[in-house]
Structures are given as C-alpha cells and as structure tokens.
Point group: C2
Chain length 480, copies 2
C-alpha cells in the first residue's frame, strides 16, 4: 500500500562519497601553513613590542594564524580553523544538553538600544562605533545583552511563564577596541566568542539556569582536560548579583589574580577578596589565602532584571501578572580559550593541544624522496594513512606529511612543534622483512616511540575507544 | 609489548552520550520560534515599505528570523540556523572535494590595503568605514580580495610554483551598506557569505581552478534540487576576464535579466548581451533570445593578476623567475541562497525547503491535551519520535510539536507553513486496535497523507536511503 511512495529525499542521490573521503586525507604539501612567521606583538598603536606570549609565538611560528591588516586582528589558517570547529562542536554539545538554542544576532547594531541601557557611554571607546551612510549611529557588538533582550521583549512580549526558561546562544565574531591588544589571541580586538543568555521567571529559576550553565562549563573543561579554576568574581560593569570566572592558572601571563583558601579551596577573584578581608568567606577560615595568577577564559553573570526592565522583556505569571524576566549571561572566548590552553599546557618550543581540539590526531610522515625506502615506504605510509582514517578511532583525524624533499628528522620536528598527538613515521624500517613503522608520541614531558608492523599499529588503535564517541571528532563529521 | 600503552585520548571518557541524544529531540514547546512576526520591509531610511518578498514574509511569519536593531540586519532563529549550518556543511563538502582550505579572515580591516587597490574609493559608501580609537581608518570587509591577497603575498612570498594551486575560503559575516536593503535576506546589509579565492601560476591553471569551482557550484545546486541557471556575466567593478553568475529564475522578484538563446540554451546577463547584439555568441544563431528574470545567488570571477600585482603576491616558476599569481574569486550568498530557494520553490502560504537544508525532516504532532487519545497517543508519538530518530534515515531530523493545548489541525497548519517535508500526526487512530499514525507530505503541489501502524511507518523509512549519506544531515553530526 505505501511501498510505492518514496520519501522525497530518495530523489536525491549523493555523489559517491567514499572515494571522496579517501581523497580527502589532507597532505601537508597542499596545506596553507606558512611555517616561518616571525612572532611580534602588535599593540594598538601599530608599534611592535617584545612581549610575545608562548601561545602567540607557537601559533605564529607553526603557521596556524597570522596577523590581520588591523592591529589586534588575526587570520585563522586551516589547522587552527579545525581546532575552532572542534571546540565549537564541544560547546554546541554541552549547551544543547542543557536545552540551549543556537541563534545568530547581527554584529551591526543600532545605537538606540545601547543608549537605553546607558552602555553606549559606559563602554566608551572600547566599543567600535560609527555612522552608516545615512549617518545613523551604529556599533559592532562587543556582546549582545541589548540585542537579545530586545529580541525577547519584542517577540515574546508578555509570553506565558510556561515558555521559560529560554536559553539562547550564538558563536561568532565579537569586536572590542582594546586599548592594548596583546599576546595574540589572548587579547584581540576581533575574536570568536560564545555568548549565551538565559531568561527565567524568578530569581530562583534563574539560579537553576545559572547552575546548569556552570555545570556545562565544568563538563567542557573536563573534556578539554585542562586544569581550570572556577572563581567567585565581581559582577563589575555587567551588574548583577552573582558571577564566576573560569580561568586557567598561568603564573607567567595570568592577568587575573586569584585568592585560594588553603583550607577549603574556595577561590575568589582578588578584586572581590580585597573587599572582604583575609578570612575565607566560604569556610570562615582565617588561615592564609594563596595567591594564583590565571587567564580568564569564560565567565557567568546572574544579571537579574536590569536589562529586561530597561528593555521591557516581560512574562505573564501563573497569577496573570506581568513581570520582568530574570536573566543570566555567559561567555566563552572561543579563540582565547584555545590560545590559553596552548599557553598553559605547551612546553616552550612545541604546541601541546587538548586532545579533543587538536587539529588532527595523527600525522603520517612519508619517506624522504630518493631514499632506498621511498618506493615501498611511500606505499606503506599511504596504506597506513588510509587504514587509520578508516578506523572509527582515527577517522577524519589523519594528515599526511608528504613534503618528501625534506628529511624525516626535519618533518618529525615540525610535527612535534605543531603538536600532533600521534606521529607515525615510515622510514628505513619499511624495508624490514615484515615492514615496520615508527610511532612517536608524548607521555607527560617525555618523548616516546615504538616500532610496529602496520597490523600491530592498527590493532593498537582498534583496542582504543574512538576519539570522542562512536564516530569521531572530525569537525566536518562528528556526532557529539 | 605495546598493549600497556594507552593512546592519550583513552584517558578521556565522554559522559554518557546516548541518553543525551534521546533527550535531545527538540520540542516545539521549548523552541524559540515566535509565530506572529508581522512582515514589513524596512529600507535603509528606517521607513517601512509594502514590498515584502515571499521568502521574507514566510520566514518572518513562521518565526525563522526577525529584524535586527539596524535596518537590513536580521536575527537568525534556531530553525533557520539549522538550515544555515546544513548549507554550510554542503558547501564545505563540495569545496573540500576540490581541495579548498577553510580559513577565517578578520572583518575588521585596515584602510591601507583597500587604498592600494583603489577600492577604498571605488566601493564608496557601500563600504562601512570608520575610525578606531586611535583614529586609524578601518572598514568592515564587504569581501576579502585585499585581505587574502595580502596574506598570500606576505606569507608565501615567492613560494615555489609547486605550492600552487592554493584555494582558500571562508564562511562568515559580510557587511555592505546597501542604499536599499530589501526583500529580507535577499538584500541585507549584514549577511553570511562564502568567499573563495584561488591562486594559480598561469592563466591556464587558473582556468582549471575556475572550472573546478564552477563544477562544485553545479554539484551544490544539484544537491539542493533547485532550478538554477548559470549565466555569462560581466566582470564589472571586480575586473577580470571571465565571469559567471548562478541564479534562480524568479519572474516576480528577479533583479537580474538574462538572455537565453532559444537554440543552444546559452545564457547571458542582459548587461553583457546588450553589448553583443542580438545573435547568440555561443552558437551564432540569430534566432530570438528569450528574456528571463532571476535572483543571483553565487558568482565566479577569473580575476587575473590585478590584485596580486598591486599587493605583490608572487611565485617563483620552474624557470626561476618571479611572476604574479593568477587569481579567481568565487562567492555564494549563504543566507541569500536559502531565502532565494524559499522564494522560488514555496507556494504563497507555506515554505518549501530544499530537502537537504530543511531545518528538520520530520515533525511529529502529539494528541491534543484532554482528548480521549491523549494518554495512549502521547506515548505512541514519543515512541515514534524516538524510533524515527534512531533510524539512520531520520537521525537528528525529528522535532516534536508537543504544544498540546492547541488542536491538531492548528499544529498541522503550522507544520505545513514551516515546511517540514514529513509530518507525522498521532490523533484518534491511536485508539485503533492496532494503533495507527497519520503521515502527511507534499507531492508536487498536492497534499498527501497515509495511515500506518508505527511498524509500517518505520519500515517505510527503513526502505529509504539515509537523508544524505550513510549517517544523516543533522548539522551537529553529519558526515558529508
């Protein structure tokens, strides 16, 4: 009866995708990765400065990013883009889990709504302001409290309390005309930010949203496997009643100073702790507070009703009365977080990526052109690359360094500097009776290697769980 | 020997993702989709205008987008974002197939490079220009020929001819201060664009890149299953030697006029055909040329060396000599293309999406609250949603309309207006001895429906191929 009906999508035949996949294994000879960008810190005056951060130096020298035409802006190159896309997916996954919905608000914003919250003048020259062709005052959004609150005020005007919580977020470019852009992506004037806004019907419900987001942040940092600190912070210019910062401890470069209670571990931004005396406000201990330097990568604010009141974002409660929505706002500096991870977990001369956002998991190095093993080893290397890519554990995670006019040693060094977690080298041992492959990786600060047949290498991978789940973490294909 | 070694990613255990997936089926009661936005055309003066396009009306009325604070800007809501993300993946896939590499260039650009190509004055007030806090002249990139050519000139200065072709693209916001923003996303001031730039070592090689991109575009339109036209066009302000436009024919709204040879089918933009007389320049026929109106959604330009010469993007050839790289540039208006598809394939009162970029493939409507079938039918509906979502053919493609204070008839109408290709309704027939489900879909302009048991429904889906490939087209998980 229904067998004659074809679902509409059957009419579409995807063009053969399996051969395409294999052809898709990236080769470094094709890759845009200029390996010799001299790192200089470009401050806002356009002058250069010696104070270059470790992440900036490594990301520039490995050709992952380069300075844009305007100070404090960066071109993101293909490898770095993969990391951005992987992190985006991790964030999407964590936020969808707590029922956040993805939207996109324009960067080009009208002055009027910023004036109604008084932030047009409060943000001052940190905001990029200008006039359009009809001389209307506009700005580039440094953040979107005004835009999202206006959106909800206009299109959910006096909606029923049943429609809340509402949790809206976006991931995209943000603009801040920093007085001193520095340390590369750690303080840029244009950067990628995730900004989330929650709308609830009471302070109590807003706290539930707040806690849900904080716990999603904790999951995210756990998945990145970076040491992070959550600190009670001041709400500052954002206003509101409760605020936390998420930071990566970093003695050399941390711009935030934290106070950590040696007894209960509670952590506070020094800004607020200075006001509260020496005793820990969590456990009331009067033992000394440790001081830690750290880089802020995310924050959370319980905003209350300050924006919803000014912009008229109301709901109708069970009692039939109209009230202001209670808001929270939550940011993650996406490009900043990647740079901060590199800053704190890398050694001075090579990048270490959090595994979940490493551009590729495995780099396969082919034999040098003209070497005895070039022919047999070249085939073996491609076979290894394709077979690793076909395993769920390596799928989409393989890149081949086929720059075979360079020695293996030079390419191994490049691969280590670029931070590939696993490096598979096909060299002289390709000519063994049972052809062998070298595998290099880091364990802690130690370089390790082992020599294996291709089957042994594949078995080793098969014994592991897939990178992130049952498929993989290729930004173009991952199921999170 | 190596079994004691654990790959580093094994240390990371993803938190249980299977329950999360099931919990992730979106419910319309949660979804931000304001269904009653009055469509008005907002021109650049801020005044409203009656000329509203069909896509604009439908996208506003179905709560897919809403106007931003500045004229000609739009908030993209969750359903529309899914469409954008699906289209992004299709584009990524087609471009990766021809070895394009994804990058991201800043929107914030310095005036100097625009001055060196003279486009600072050529683009005039269509470019959003301003000064930063140090009074340096900047703009928001309307396109990125200058930025990408500078990037290549700086970091691949006199690179070997072996490093080419180089094909770099990005997908992100672009800004044009249109005199008359109109028709919603068809002519906005901030919009999402894919821009691709190719670098080759000769005019001949540049043509190979050009043809590869044109064929990727053709694949893309074939996957969208929309009727498109490729027309020879004038290079205009962009300069260069060869140019094509990709357009969707649209009598009511097409701003481009095409001339089509009735004999050989060759198509030309009327701009260039006017200069070439009445004969077809492809087949030399002097029969009449048809006139067709159409909406431009993509373009391609063979630029030659005009940008590379001015900005010093050179390579070193086999002969050891330095020469200017030969460039092509290729745009797709991502948000514009979605709007244009809706414009041309929808009927006046309901959206029709290209299947490959429909926000969700299947909408499941639950029984009305308080109806006799509410209890048994509610369970059946959730069971249907979960089981459809578990099939590769429906995975990630299911949304549940659980707004059960509304009648089924009202929700069916909403679902049809929002354009879900398949609508599954659980109503009175849920109480049949073998509980039954209605399935509604469109075939051509006809509304069709059938009544099935859950098993029959699932078998029907199982008999089909997965939406786009062996996994699915959920923007958050698809393997393309």
């Amino acid at each position: 009866m229904f067998s004659s009906y074809r679902l509409p999508w059957n009419k579409f035949k995807p063009h053969a995708w399996i051969p395409v996949r294999l052809a898709h294994i990236t080769r470094l000879s094709d890759l845009f990765q200029p390996l010799s960008i001299a790192p200089t810190n470009q401050d806002n005056s356009g002058k250069t400065d010696d104070a270059v951060s470790r992440s900036q130096k490594l990301l520039l020298e490995t050709g992952m990013v380069s300075p844009g035409s305007a100070p404090g802006t960066f071109n993101l190159h293909p490898l770095f883009m993969r990391s951005v896309e992987k992190l985006t997916k991790l964030i999407d996954d964590e936020l969808r889990t707590i029922r956040c919905q993805k939207i996109s608000l324009p960067s080009l914003q009208d002055a009027s709504m910023w004036k109604s919250t008084n932030r047009w003048s409060l943000m001052g020259s940190e905001m990029l302001k200008f006039q359009d062709r009809l001389e209307r005052h506009c700005c580039l959004g440094p953040t979107s409290e005004e835009a999202v609150t206006s959106l909800v005020a206009t299109h959910m005007h006096n909606a029923s309390y049943k429609k809340f919580p509402l949790r809206l977020y976006q991931i995209g470019p943000k603009f801040r005309d920093e007085m001193k852009p520095k340390y590369g992506l750690l303080r840029a004037r244009e950067f990628i930010m995730k900004d989330l806004y929650t709308f609830d019907t009471s302070e109590e419900n807003a706290k539930i949203s707040y806690d849900a987001v904080v716990s999603a942040y904790e999951n995210l940092f756990a998945r990145l496997q970076v040491p992070f600190v959550k600190a009670e912070a001041s709400s500052g210019a954002m206003g509101g009643t409760k605020s936390h910062e998420f930071l990566l401890p970093c003695e050399s470069l941390g711009e935030d100073t934290l106070r950590v209670c040696t007894k209960c571990g509670a952590t506070f931004n020094a800004e607020i702790k200075a006001n509260q005396g020496a005793a820990c406000s969590a456990c009331s201990s009067t033992t000394e507070l440790d001081t830690v330097k750290a880089i802020e990568v995310a924050h959370s604010f319980l905003l209350g009703t300050q924006y919803s009141r000014k912009l008229g974002a109301n709901f109708v409660g069970q009692d039939g009365k109209s009230n202001s929505l209670v808001m929270g706002c939550f940011g993650i500096g996406v490009t900043r977080l990647i740079a901060a991870c590199i800053e704190v977990i890398s050694s001075g001369d090579r990048i270490r990526w959090p595994l979940a956002i490493s551009p590729y998991g495995i780099c396969v190095i082919t034999p040098k052109a003209g070497s005895k093993e070039a022919s047999a080893g070249g085939l073996l290397a491609m076979q290894a690359a394709v077979k690793l890519d076909q395993l769920p554990q390596g799928n989409g995670e393989v890149v081949v360094d086929d720059r075979d006019d360079l020695t293996i040693g030079r390419r191994l060094k490049d691969a280590q500097k670029s931070g590939y977690p696993m490096i598979v080298v096909v060299g002289k041992t390709a000519l063994d009776e049972v052809p062998k492959i070298e595998m290099h990786y880091q364990e802690g600060d130690q370089d390790r290697s082992m020599i294996l047949s291709l089957d042994e290498l594949l078995d080793l991978f098969r014994a592991e769980e897939p990178a992130l789940d049952s498929t993989n973490n290729d930004p173009n294909s991952v199921r999170l």
